[in-house]
Symmetry: C3
């Protein structure tokens, strides 16, 4: 790893140096672990005591005033500025142009000269791999797929036929895009599979976490909007349309034909029932189960989910329920509405 | 893609043409998206307004009466008939007989001459790949496995040793069949792993969604019954016996030794506690947690799950609980059973 | 499979033979399925009727007294002793030393001469594969990884750069270790990804189930403590520190920065909210949602989770809630606190 001076890091972060700008830094660490040659960041006031105790050679903070005698890079938003510092020390891996000798690229596929195709990757007929895209080891790309510029497919990703990825899409290991949706109809001799002949389209700047699955549409296109981030082990059923700049946290699941607005945040293990619409800016707290349409901006909780404040009030009473019910039975007994056997 | 006349499609669907039987159709689309050379289907009455507004060249519907002047293929069950139409335009991919030059097939394995083994697939000693089976790229089949006729393993599927698949089983990308069950016993020096020496048997016509996991039994056989459909990211623990013609929806999980009857429907993210029996025809609504035996035909909801109508009634009162509890505290205060400080 | 006499099995299990020590056994089966040449074990008293009805040639049981005329291997703990018997019939697969001709091992990687690297495996620069480790087909090991002695990576496991595994770690098929954590900050032009530059360290004797995902830390190290067992489809978010000898059951999920003590048991589909501490010895029942710190030794249930006995009491009243609420409305009406329209 390269090292940089405090001044160089500050320049990258758009920050102002207070202290020793010539100090060389070798990386970024957490406050607890950073040493005299490392940078640490102070996300907010709450972390100031930890920062004062830190052995970090330099701090990335809102103001140097709280850290007399320390070398500080002052920035308006340390949590954002640390991204720039991290990118300096750990530049994003770039494509090493070329197709590995063991990769099997169909003659009908088009791989940009600046793209990288790794060992044992398989790319099908009619697929296009865009400029500077990275296809890592063991990735399988079906026929007629499109990988936008700077797309990055980690090892063992599988794209079924016809899946398209926008620019800068990052797909983590083990993700499956475009497998058949879960579509069946009852027939006279039992369950009949409905051929799933649609596809999947992933917008620009989407990131998809390890081992997640996004199923192809029955007839049309399952979509993830630009800028949306999908965590690990998430499932998106067929025909879903997910908006832009949202977050689907770990192990969340959308049943088929869920329409999700822009800027939606679904917490971990949230499930949605399908054939419904989740409005723009909705937040569903972890493990919620969404049974029906949710209006724009709602914050919901529970299974079935409803307004999180109302849920909180009901939940408080749920915990008190044994005592409340005991009172009810005493009152009912007193009023002659029931007998006292089961208080 | 090939094109077909309305009359040809009608013949395939067992339908009657009203209108222009010679019109050429290039495919099937959703009502909203179909154009003048495309077929769309009208699942039920509710979709009639959409169908009237659709630009589709032909409609697959129960009756032409609702669509005067339109070309209609009349069928008793449009949702079922569209399957036949889809199969006409998108015939199921057939095996391209042969073993890819990069596949590693153990000399002790038996691959039917009509089967296809794709690039970089690995097939172990003693395994049998049946007629017309498809083993796609990067699939790993252990030793002593059996793939029935017309089985289809998508890329990156892993079968541990001894797993057997019936006829026409379709396994989507990333599925793992036969990994060790989660079996441990406390020993004098800590946790001891119980060797998992059983196996997994998948019945005919089962489909398994992407990245699902079905663990091998400790001693005997984990089973999925014929015709059952398993969605993405589902987990079936060791020793489970799942019946026929059921549905395990996305991210559902069965703990070890769960016995599941025939025709069972487990909604998305449903969990079952293991060492229990779920009767025939049971429906568990999404996110339910099944704590104990469930009788045949029950429809259940909640965690722990119970009758869905009772759950609904309790849930309605859960939402009203703050108001109900307020009344109780007022009544109790009036009756001198408590003081008024915490209404 | 080899066969062994009852006496040989007893010697391995540290048991005492009552009956025919020379009887040859060909394997271990469940009581229901064992035949005259097979061993079955009687876990506890409850299984005695089944054992009496079993055709098993020999029983592994606490005492022969309950089984007159039968051949019994007496041991103090049959559930533990059967492990020894199983290991006799099914010895753990050993590494077949050598690197398969199709594996791609970077010249800068160090593979111990006693280790096995399977077909199409890829091992990156600077990685070390320890003595007797097994790297099965299609495993991808990034750069700078460490596999401890006797580590076993099943097919299709992916290790991102810098992941370290202790001795005897077993990782099942499809597991992804070290993918990027889910870390983003809001920026002036939208969501900005925080580079995830930490890593993952897995302690000795850990087992990880199929298709589970453990994300790399943002800056430091995501850790799984020695002896902890992780089931299938589990997600561990970035920066989590999981203690020793715990169990994370199927489909459980830990959001980022969860600290988990030693000996913790998280049931199936449990979720934890992140940035919190779960004490030593905590048990969270299946599907619980953990919203905040949990003290040592607590047994919790529900979403949000609290003491499981209290939860049980509240849940009993939840089921009775329609009747309780009806009484409340009658009482309120009587007391003139409300009108009778909505009983």
């Amino acid at each position: 790893m390269s090292s940089f001076t405090v001044a160089e890091v500050a320049a990258r972060c758009g920050g102002r140096v207070a202290g020793d700008g010539k100090l060389r830094l070798s990386g970024v660490r957490a406050l607890e672990w950073a040493g005299p040659e490392e940078l640490a960041f102070v996300a907010d006031r709450k972390n100031e005591p930890k920062a004062l105790a830190s052995r970090a050679g330099a701090l990335l903070a809102r103001s140097a005033a709280a850290f007399p005698g320390r070398t500080v890079i002052e920035v308006p938003d340390p949590a954002l500025a640390v991204v720039a510092a991290l990118e300096l020390f750990h530049p994003r891996r770039e494509a090493r142009p070329g197709i590995h000798g063991t990769a099997i690229v169909d003659p009908g596929a088009l791989v940009d000269a600046s793209a990288e195709v790794g060992p044992y990757a398989v790319v099908g007929d009619g697929s296009r791999v865009g400029p500077r895209a990275i296809v890592e080891a063991h990735v399988v790309v079906g026929r007629g797929c499109v990988l936008g510029e700077d797309a990055w497919l980690h090892p063992h990703v599988v794209l079924y036929d016809g899946v398209t990825l926008g620019a800068r899409v990052e797909v983590h290991a083990g993700v499956v895009l475009g497998a058949d949706g879960f579509g069946y109809v009852p027939g006279p001799k039992g369950i009949v599979k409905v051929p799933q002949v649609g596809t999947v389209a992933i917008g620009d700047d989407v990131e998809i976490g390890a081992n997640s699955c996004i199923d192809r549409a029955a007839l049309e296109t399952t979509r993830i909007g630009a800028g949306t981030k999908v965590d690990d082990l998430v499932m998106v059923g067929h025909n879903c349309i997910v908006g832009t700049n949202g977050f689907l946290c770990g192990q969340a699941g959308l049943a088929g034909s869920t329409i999700v607005g822009d800027g939606v945040m679904l917490g971990g293990q949230v499930g949605s029932a399908g054939h419904l619409t989740i409005g723009n800016g909705v937040k569903a707290e972890a493990q919620s189960g969404i049974p029906s349409d949710v209006p724009d901006g709602a914050i919901i909780h529970g299974t079935p989910a409803f307004d999180y404040r109302e849920h909180h009030r009901s939940f408080v009473e749920f915990r008190r329920l044994p005592e409340t019910a005991r009172l009810v039975r005493m009152l009912a007994e007193k009023a002659g509405l029931r007998k006292g056997e089961d208080r």
